[in-house]
Symmetry: C2
Subunit: 133 residues, 2 copies
């Protein structure tokens, strides 16, 4: 086990971006883990963009990423304990334009395409764009 002390500024910086807040909120609300292509289909953002944002969250100590074959699953890190009120804050943020809610709807749909609880397909964005705003 490796404990790295992460500067508070780095954590707040990691949360100071709309795309990254969308990722954190989705992971927090669903208590799920997700691979890149599922996030692409949920947030409707290009893979290279999300991949870079995921890296920033990982480096800030907020996400843990594990490779499984061709897929990489990302999930929230819950330690140290002071991360919890931060996630709670993100989860409590107003969602005036329903951005978070639409991400969530698409993500839930996308989860239905898993087989045996794992993603077996790639990006399906075209399909998801036409549905659920």
């Amino acid at each position: 086990m490796q404990i790295v002390t992460i500067q508070a500024e780095v954590i707040f910086q990691a949360l100071a971006d709309e795309t990254r807040l969308r990722i954190i909120r989705l992971m927090k609300v669903t208590d799920e883990e997700s691979c890149l292509c599922e996030l692409v289909d949920s947030l409707l953002e290009p893979p290279y963009k999300l991949s870079r944002h995921l890296k920033i969250l990982r480096q800030a100590g907020l996400l843990l990423s594990q490779k499984e074959g061709r897929w990489v699953y990302h999930r929230l890190v819950t330690e140290p304990a002071y991360l919890e009120p931060l996630y709670a804050t993100v989860q409590a943020l107003p969602d005036t334009n329903e951005i978070y809610n639409n991400d969530l709807k698409r993500f839930r749909q996308r989860l239905c395409l898993r087989e045996g609880g794992r993603c077996r397909i790639g990006i399906q964005s075209e399909m998801f764009k036409t549905e659920a705003g």
Copy 2:
């Protein structure tokens, strides 16, 4: 009364800086308000630098600034409610290098120089630099 919706990214961005975290933590821990020169003496940073950081915090909706003669007093904003866990997080951050603690010691000393609960003097940094690390 004017309610302005502030983007979450702006709030997290405002917290993504060491100097600003020092200001927030000091205001939160002491539950005090402070003018610029008191902060200069507490954080030992130049006035123009702190003035700019205070502006950023104000624009993010975290500080309220009120002018009183030549002095401007700054204090934490507590609304909306989701700011509270953020401040709590800042207050709970580890203080490995005692930076926050040293700020606090100097601030408490500086408060002793108030007359009638108000600051009546300007920057005294030279005096504060020589004491309490």
